[in-house]
Amino acid sequence: MASMTAPVDHYSALFARRESAGLPAWLPPLQRAAHSRFAELGFPTRRDEEWRFTDIRPIAEVPFRPASGGADAGALAAEFGFGGLAQIVFVDGRYAPELSSIDELPGGAKVVPLSGALRSHAALLEPHLGRYAAFEREPFVALNTALFAEGAFLHVPRGVAMAEPIHILYLATEDGAMITPRTLIVADEGSQATVVESYAGSGTAVTFTNAVTEVAVAERAFVDHYKLQREGDRAFHIAQMKVNLKAQSVFSSHSITLGAAIARNDVTAYLGGRHIECTLNGLYLGHGSRLIDNHTAIDHAMPDCGSHEVYKGILDGRSRGVFNGKIFVREDAQKTDAKQTNRTLLLSEDAQINTKPQLEIFADDVKCTHGATVGQLNAEQLFYLRTRGIALDEARAILIYAFAGDIVNRIKVPALREAMDEIVGSRS
């Protein structure tokens, strides 16, 4: 086994070489602290409870480096874009203005590259950037925080409702590239936004995306977030989303995993006010030897909030899935209504899933339920369809589609829902 200190030294060298000219004064200390913490923690191993089923040595073993750049990603941007949506595109970690269309947003809302925002809107970023994504115990958050230089910043001012979704597209194309996207979404009081954050890549490149997304949803704001991961089969994708919710806000997240060799998503929502509604849904499709690990945590700190979570997976070949869903209900969080479900369909003998709900409840007047099911295609249903003339392959496709359908049908962005319809239909 390779020494685990070598990769840490490798990334420390990258940290030492990074540019910090022009950054607001508060950022370099944060990045230094994050780097120190990463150097202490190192990459996680399977002895770490949070990484028990996900061996990231294949990532640690490759000395990834920032992309040299210059890739022509026009075709990829067209392939993975959604016609008609305003989009901001990054190629191998660099902002690609020629592929982006972000000029006109209503009501003073803006989506801009983070590098520019750090220089032009530092005061707007300071209360949020790095405030939600704690890195003390999370090596990949520490690594992202230490190294990020670019990403997307979306700001929706108070009371502004954005009618059209925004598409943030991160493309991974260059073999050996480490990509460190940092996304910050700030929805001020009473505002409304729909965001599609997607990650995509070309077929064969070995890339390492280590993404962190912070979402701040102020009082009475609505944010509908979709994450779509369609990286190449040899890509590594680690992503952490940290959501901070204030009173009476409504947040929903749909996390859809279709790509990468190893994909790990952490979604953490902190419900810090009363009457918040939080939905975390997910859909993962695995084939080949893909590993898909979804960790979610919903932290109910205040009374009268609801959280709803449905994660569904379809695993074929030798693919593996991991689901870990934590729900914390703090002492003050009376009248919490929390429901969590994880359902996985295994299409082959060799596919497997490890699923673990974790409920920690400290309040006494709450309603919390969880359930996990793992199963195969229902033989009775298959037979029924076949007796009606539907061939076995099509019968399987119909049942797989039906299984995924209740997640796909909840997608409120038509272009994304149609794309998913097609993908789920053709994979099955």
Partner: protein, 258 residues
């Protein structure tokens, strides 16, 4: 040529012998009733004909339109015009009834070398059949059988039968769990399909449904064999006298044989 010819059919499930030599000939235009108590093998017979894998055919043969039925996949049997109305119709959450029915009809049409129906043609057909069967159109928008009452499920089977227009319909205890009104409307649906080209096999425990779907032939299945065949009056006799006298009668040749 008979539409369906079963000769010496034996089958087992989980190593248990259930069919012990069934002979039956069904011609186009005929309605046959197969009566029997629970465990006599009547549902097994229906399911073996539809191609359910849980049953293992151990002997005999089944010719359907002169072809070896047992060699065909379930979907091929459907393509050739065989339809089984399930005793327990299967719920398929997430699959819309209309979508399902259109997929089924067009799969069968494709098998038969016909062009698929487009949405407009399909809906016209569906509306016509709904009217004949007195079925609530809202049923079309619901997932297949999910949350349907027992009666709705059975009606949905007959509705599928009407839309898919098979040559040989096998009704597996379609009457079980239905009240008399539901039996009447299901029977009307079946009777509307009776024609010189088609045949119906009604598998049932009770004579009730046979008052409405009047059979040409009645067969009594007992312990995996057809022990008695007759006309429609046999159903009446079974109804009034029960199956016991037949069981007693059937035991005698078995004793003699030992």
């Amino acid at each position: 040529m008979a539409l369906l010819e079963i000769r010496g059919l034996t089958a087992e499930a989980d190593g248990k012998k259930i069919l012990k030599g069934v002979d039956l000939t069904v011609n186009a235009g005929e309605v046959h009733a197969i009566m029997g108590v629970n465990g006599s093998g009547k549902s097994t017979l229906a399911n073996v004909l539809a191609g359910r894998e849980a049953y293992k055919v151990t002997g005999g043969e089944v010719l359907y339109k002169g072809q070896d039925l047992l060699e065909m996949e379930p979907e091929e049997r459907a393509g050739e015009g065989l339809f089984l109305a399930f005793q327990y119709p299967v719920e398929i959450p997430g699959v819309n009834n209309t979508y399902f029915l259109k997929a089924a009809l067009n799969a069968i049409r494709k098998y038969q070398g016909q062009e698929p129906l487009d949405a407009v043609q399909f809906m016209a057909l569906v509306k016509e059949k709904l009217k004949i069967l007195h079925i609530d159109p809202s049923l079309l928008q619901r997932p297949v059988n999910e949350g349907f009452s027992g009666g709705e499920k059975k009606r949905n089977e007959i509705f599928q039968l009407a839309v898919l227009d098979p040559q040989l319909a096998i009704l597996d205890e379609t009457d079980s769990g239905l009240d008399i009104d539901a039996i009447k409307s299901v029977s009307e649906g079946v009777n509307a399909l009776r024609s010189p080209d088609r045949a119906v096999v009604v598998v049932t425990h009770y004579q009730r449904i046979l008052r409405y779907i009047v059979p040409d032939f009645v067969h009594v299945l007992l312990d995996g064999r057809i022990v008695l065949s007759g006309g429609k009056e046999l159903a009446q006799k079974v109804d009034t006298e029960g199956f016991e006298w037949l069981e007693a009668q059937a035991r005698q040749p078995a004793l003699a044989g030992n």
